[in-house]
């Protein structure tokens, strides 16, 4: 039986996004042209070109990293690490695993769906998802450092480092005090 992790990533709505950006660029370009004239448009194109050229080598490298990380770090291994520990140690492990999990949202959610069926701790699941989304290394390296600059990217990383633990502990407290059952019990 194929587990949810083995299924291919569903096709993103690639065309819709492309159309969205094209429309956004066209619309804002027209507005800017009407307000500030052609020099503003030229300045905008210049700035964009230099940014695209600057981030291209980073993004190219990041794709190689993401590809190898996905090929070398099988989901089954990540899932085993996640279910392995409880207590604060379990949360710290979930946080570390979330930080290094490469790839898009589908893979990470699929992992949580798989975990839910094995009776995993809700705190670890929440900590994992929060770590993956706010302090994921792939995002830091791929997007934040090139686009935000090292200082801002690292400051944000530092300020967010504790968030996955806060969320995980809050989740455990809520479940314990109110007997909530937020995880789907059946495996899809």
């Amino acid at each position: 039986m194929p587990s949810p992790e083995d299924q291919p990533e569903p096709r993103r709505r690639g065309f819709g996004q492309l159309a969205f950006f094209a429309a956004l660029a066209l619309g804002s370009g027209l507005l800017l042209w009407r307000r500030d004239g052609l020099p503003a448009i030229e300045a905008g194109i210049d700035a964009s070109l230099s940014l695209v050229l600057a981030v291209a080598p980073v993004i190219l490298g990041a794709m190689v990293v993401a590809g190898y990380a996905k090929a070398l770090l099988p989901r089954a291994l990540i899932a085993r690490w996640l279910g392995a520990e409880s207590g604060l140690k379990g949360l710290l492990l979930a946080m570390a695993v979330g930080m290094v999990t490469p790839g898009g949202p589908f893979a990470s959610f699929a992992l949580v769906v798989g975990l839910a069926g094995t009776g995993a701790d809700i705190g670890a699941c929440i900590t994992y998802l929060t770590a993956w989304s706010v302090i994921g290394l792939h995002r830091l390296i791929m997007w934040e450092v090139p686009l935000l600059g090292v200082d801002l990217a690292l400051l944000r990383f530092g300020a967010c480092l504790i968030l996955p633990l806060i969320a995980g502990i809050a989740a455990r407290i809520l479940v314990r005090r109110f007997g909530l059952q937020p995880l789907p019990t059946r495996i899809g």
């Binding site: 094209a22 700035a47 080598p57 801002l152 530092g158 937020p182």
Partner: protein
């Protein structure tokens, strides 16, 4: 900028070297994955950056600075968290727009709150993946325990900034935007 190029390619070559040594079968799927991730970006990212560059010139700088500037304090952080939560799309949409807002005069703690809200609440991700895969109950539970995280991040960023003696406005990366033309 150079530092991220070097970091990324060091990691990339390190991983490729490891694969060469221990897992030669991994090269092909790794490069295939990388290519499939890169392909959609090749048109989308330049367009997104262009749109952001125009938008940043259109943004009313005075209003941004007043609402989200460093001196806007906790209300500014709260507002930034709400705005970040409503941001559509993945990183390639949002980062250039976030930079436009930063360049228009938003404060650093406010920008951190905005970025964090966008990654924690992630409306686009909730709709496309989380709701169908994990269900409404889980989504609401996760959002409930995450509700205050962006505000906490904003406050911590301000404290860190003071403690480290960083300037109010950090280096905005390579996204050097043109000064508003404003008829000059």
């Amino acid at each position: 900028m150079l530092i991220s190029v070097v970091t990324v390619w060091t990691i990339a070559l390190g991983l490729a070297g490891f694969a060469l040594w221990r897992r030669p079968d991994a090269h092909r799927p790794a490069l295939a994955t990388g290519w499939s991730m890169l392909k959609p970006l090749m048109l989308r990212l330049p367009l997104a950056i262009l749109a952001a560059s125009f938008l940043s010139q259109l943004l009313p700088k005075a209003a941004v600075a007043q609402l989200l500037g460093a001196q806007s304090g906790l209300p500014g952080i709260l507002l930034a968290a709400i705005i970040g939560g409503l941001f559509p799309g993945g990183p390639m949409v949002s980062f250039p727009i976030v930079i436009a807002v930063y360049q228009a005069g938003a404060g650093t703690p406010q920008i951190v709150a905005l970025l964090t809200a966008w990654s924690v609440y992630a409306i686009h991700r909730v709709m496309a993946f989380e709701l169908p895969m994990l269900g409404t109950r889980f989504v609401l539970f996760r959002l409930a325990v995450s509700l205050l995280l962006p505000v906490i991040a904003g406050i911590l960023a301000g404290l860190l900034q003071d403690a480290l003696g960083l300037p109010a406005m950090l280096d905005g990366g390579s996204f050097a935007l043109p000064a508003p033309a404003g008829g000059q």
